[in-house]
Amino acid sequence: MKNARKSPWRLLYKLHRYLGLAVSVILILLAITGIALNHTADWQLNSRYIKSPTLLNWYGVNQPSAIRSFKAGPHWISQLDQQSYFNTQALITNNQLLVGAISTEPFIVLAFEKQLLLISDNGTVIEKIPLEAPIDSIGVTEPDTVFIRLDTQIKVSHDGLLSWQTVSDPSVQWSQETALTEPLNAQLQQTHRQHIIPYERFLLDLHSGRLFGTVGIFIVDLSGILLIVLTLSGCWIWLRHRLKSRFHNKRLR
């Protein structure tokens, strides 16, 4: 009886059982996150963002250091980090600095260093217009006359930003950076913080264990190794049973 308990087969059974129990939780987590990551586009996981303050704190997402804001008619155009906002509505992400914003008769124009972004008065993107040279500022005189100031020259467009002509020193009201009102500033900061970590990033970090730092990666790696051991021990046990039953059947015949 004592020998049977100490036999290598019994040890293998025990090892298989406890290894299975130990890695089951991690494997279920890996399976769920793996399935979700396979459907990133279908479930829009790359365009939906983590809003939980606990998780955002865990990621170390802080308030943005600098906010640039401009008044365009009755609307506020702001840039926090690389994200631009129309009032509190997220518009586009780019690496260029917002240098101004104006309101014209048909649309609102956001001026970035090398791009103009046309939006409607409800924040719908109309067109992105790339610029050949970086601009310093944007200004407007009549409802549809838009000026841009480059390093050495000023250009004007009278046809809805389709073409530009060089002009000399016009009297233009250039867009000026304006401080946001306190309530809007607070609301924007909160909106911005909740628009940084997409669910896809969170699931990837959970899947790889990176969410918990080096320890998390070690646990996921160890689970992978244990899964290999588990598979081999399972095959071994199955093979033993199969051979044993065959031998038993032969003896009966």
């Binding site: 046309l118 109309i126 067109e127 992105k128 217009i129 050949e132 809805g160 389709l162």
Partner: protein
């Protein structure tokens, strides 16, 4: 040695003019398409056009107006479509409703850049748009660049559709 130095200086001076991912500026592409580039025109996505654009792109369009350049039967379109995460900027020259040139102007994705080469883009030359809004000729894909290939195919279809729209 002197010429090498000159070359390095010239390279350093020219580099900032084009961003890291931009192969050709939009102005240069338009200038190459015409002897004298015409003034740009704009096409608005009206409620009639928008559903077809959405069908071609397989998602709602992210713009309401696009600019184009036209001289007689020749039109030039500069359009953007996202491959996986970042937009790919493509210039398309259409003559008499046939694509005569399709060129990647800016590629910002980390993978799938093979689509910028002419061995791939030349497949679009002479393509037209069928009544089912598909390209008249099949486009061979590139392994590992499926999303970029799809983006360029959609842009080709869209440019041909816009070209048909303005000629109606």
């Amino acid at each position: 040695m002197k010429s090498l130095k000159l070359f390095l200086v010239a390279t350093l001076l020219w580099t900032p003019l084009l961003s890291a991912e931009q192969y050709l500026s939009e102005a240069s592409f338009v200038a190459n398409a015409f002897k004298t580039p015409p003034r740009p025109k704009s096409l608005w996505l009206t409620p009639t056009i928008k559903p077809i654009v959405q069908q071609l792109l397989q998602h709602p369009p992210t713009f309401l107006r696009t600019r184009y350049w036209q001289e007689q039967q020749r039109t030039v379109w500069i359009l953007e479509e996202i491959g996986k995460n970042e937009p790919i900027t493509v210039g398309v020259i259409i003559d008499n409703h046939h694509i005569v040139q399709l060129q990647v102007l800016a590629f910002r994705e980390s993978r799938g850049w093979e689509v910028k080469h002419s061995f791939f883009t030349d497949q679009f030359i002479t393509s037209t748009l069928s009544t089912e809004q598909t390209l008249s000729q099949s486009i061979d894909g590139i392994s590992g660049a499926t999303l970029s290939v799809n983006a360029l195919t959609k842009i080709a279809q869209l440019a041909l559709f816009f070209d048909q729209t303005i000629s109606k």
